[in-house]
Amino acid sequence: MEVFNYLVFPGFLFATVAGLLTWWLDRKVTARVQYRVGPPWYQTFADVVKLMGKEVLIPENARKTGFLLAPIVALSASALVATMIGVFNMNWSAGFVGDIIVFWYILTIPSIMLILGAAASGGPLSSVGSSREIKMLLAYEVPFIIVITMIIFKADTLSFGGIIKYQAGHGPILYSVSGVIGFIVALLCVQAKLGLVPFDAPEAETELGGGILYDYSGAALGAFKLAKAMLFYTLPIFMISLFWGGVQIGNGLGILWAVLKYLLIIVLITLIRNTNPRLRIDQIMKFFWGKLTLLAIVAFILSVLGI
């Protein structure tokens, strides 16, 4: 059963399909915002399939093992977190104590693998990109952890299923002042985790020509793109689980509500990405360590006060 969960549903295969469709939705909405027609629904699938069939070029100065291992680890980590979030949402008691910390931990692995892979490639543009990614990782994790801690305190449990169960009993965390502030902070952190504008400094195609992904090609690039697409599906589900009562399948219109919430979060992410310019890396760090950390602490204090 675990193997089925990991490889087919809700793991690798399902997360891939859902992630690529989400990615397409993002591109389509972006196109409509910009008065363009946008790609057909299978465009992202075609992109990934094509990338998978292309030759992988390994730069001369690259450390081969690290360079090639990084995308594989990133992909498997994304699939793992997709599986766990899916399974724990379906069965609240399937988790273990402290699994929320494991989530937080695994969610950073794709970024760390990007850093490792880019550093292993030995190119100047990649190394600038990877140094930016390190800075950004350090920056956005601070408010993100504070918000997760806030939820842990509020639900008084360290298990993911427990948080959803708490919300089933007490109403979603989002429906409180501290919940709304925490949700906004987490949404911006998710934006940074996905590396989308305004937080796409590590990739910055018009400055670094792709930055961290500059030296990647073919299947290795495809694996990174797939990992990112899976995160694109996983992170909104993670947000719904933590803030908005989770995906409740057994509950009549539960699936429909979950899909609507999911779409709303995706559209929010897409709109943020389309109405902002890219921030400089020092501005990103100031933003996360300054304003957002402050907001997160405010949310934390409010939640302790029970507001």
């Binding site: 972006t30 915002v33 910009q34 008065y35 363009r36 100047p124 543009l125 190394s127 600038v128 140094s131 930016r132 504008v197 305004p198 796409d200 400094a201 910055a204 195609e205 018009t206 400055e207 670094l208 020509g209 389309n274 109405t275 902002n276 310019p277 890219r278 921030l279 400089r280 890396i281 020092d282 501005q283």
Partner: protein
């Protein structure tokens, strides 16, 4: 800290044309910038000496795809200066109208590109969408979206119809609305302020020292616009009628450069309206006979700054020398003053903010095999003297050039 070298180019998503920036970095800070051009040299000046006087406008039009009327405009002004004639009023107004339409669409193009460079692709798509209205009007006026071929020695090549001018008025109205909307939505956006203000400041002293022109120098407080300082064609009359104003700002940063361009679009819209409303009747060109021996200069305020053309005639049907100086040639070195000490992300933007056009600028190509060749000033002087001597021999006249 160890210096890192970051190559940008010769082919890079930031650059529309091939050129090669070398950034010397300390961390994310750029300490030195080196630029190498010469990938795009097409030998226009040489080609021009092989064409007849009337064919050259079609050639110089193709120096640049965006300011495609600026080069022929400056060229015909140069030849008219040589002949000492003036185009009839209607011809002058038509040429100025096309010149202003070009400024509008060129600035909107830059605005879109600037949005793209800072990762704001929505601005990119929107600016280019609004640019389409102007291009449609250009097509109605001249028959072409971009290469208009409206300039000829002695006037305009084609007349514009009343119907086309009415259509242009409508396009201008709707474009004014959208540009004003842009000014509100983009230029007043706090995130844009954060990203653009105080970045890559070019001081007034530096702007003058580097002889920067056009929208690179005017935002630094230099009031220099050929249309105002040396009025030609319809610009003198429009200035007297106070139909438009020169935009001069003080800050000199990227934000000021962007704001100046948007404001210039609005001024150009006013000027276009004035030109259409006051379009005189009559002939559009004068008949031009043989071109006598002599030389002439023409300058036009292109969207990127002052473009300068020099022609020399020996009385034959071809120019014996044709010199082009595009605005980017003087604007480009300002990166030496504005880039060091900035971040990589900003340097990309600062170099884009002068709206560079490399293929217009390139006048020389040095071909060596497997070896980078740096030409010093002495080398260039030597080459130039040799060339002058060669031309002297050809035209059989001696200048008072000191022997080297």
């Amino acid at each position: 800290m160890k210096k890192t070298i970051l190559p940008i180019g010769p082919f890079h998503p930031l650059l529309e044309e091939p050129e090669f920036f070398t950034l010397y970095l300390e961390g994310e800070t750029v300490v030195k910038v080196d630029l190498r051009i010469g990938y795009n040299h097409r030998g226009h000046e040489k080609l021009a000496t092989g064409l007849t006087w009337d064919q050259v406008p079609f050639l110089v039009e193709r120096i640049c795809g965006i300011c495609s009327t600026s080069h022929p405009y400056a060229y015909v002004l140069a030849v008219e200066d040589l002949l000492d004639i003036k185009a009839p009023p209607r011809g002058q107004y038509i040429r100025s109208l096309i010149g202003e339409m070009e400024r509008i669409h060129s600035h909107l193009l830059w605005l879109g590109l600037a949005g793209h460079f800072i990762g704001y692709n929505t601005v990119w798509m929107w600016a280019w969408r609004y640019r389409e209205e102007i291009l449609d009007a250009c097509e109605k006026l001249t028959g072409n979206r971009n290469h208009y071929a409206m300039c000829r020695v002695g006037g305009a090549r084609r007349d514009v119809t009343q119907e086309a001018m009415d259509f242009t008025m409508q396009s201008l109205d709707s474009n004014e609305r959208s540009t004003t909307m842009f000014l509100g939505a983009i230029v007043d956006d706090p995130v844009m302020h954060k990203r653009l203000k105080g970045v890559g400041v070019l001081t007034k002293e530096d702007a003058i020292a580097y002889a920067a022109t056009g929208p690179t120098s005017r935002p630094s407080g230099v009031r220099w616009d050929v249309r105002e300082t040396d009025p030609y064609d319809a610009y003198g009359a429009s200035l007297k009628a106070k139909a438009w104003d020169v935009i001069v700002l003080e800050e000199g940063d990227v934000f000021a450069k962007a704001a100046a361009r948007v404001l210039e679009v609005l001024e150009s819209i006013k000027l276009c309206r004035w030109l259409i409303e006051n379009m005189p009747d009559g002939e559009i060109d004068v008949k031009v006979g043989n071109i006598p021996e002599g030389e002439g200069c023409g300058r036009h305020e292109a969207p990127r700054g002052e473009v300068f053309h020099y022609v020399r005639s020996d009385g034959s049907n071809k120019p014996i020398r044709h010199k082009v100086r595009a605005p980017t040639f003087t604007n480009l070195p300002t990166y030496k003053a504005s880039c060091p000490g900035e971040q990589i992300a900003d340097v990309a933007l600062i170099t884009a903010a002068i709206d560079p056009c490399y293929c217009c600028t390139e006048r020389v190509g040095v071909v060596t095999r497997n070896r980078r060749n740096t030409l010093t000033q002495d080398d260039l002087v030597k080459l130039s003297v040799e060339k002058t001597l060669e031309i002297e021999k050809k035209i059989g006249r001696r200048s008072n050039l000191a022997k080297i």
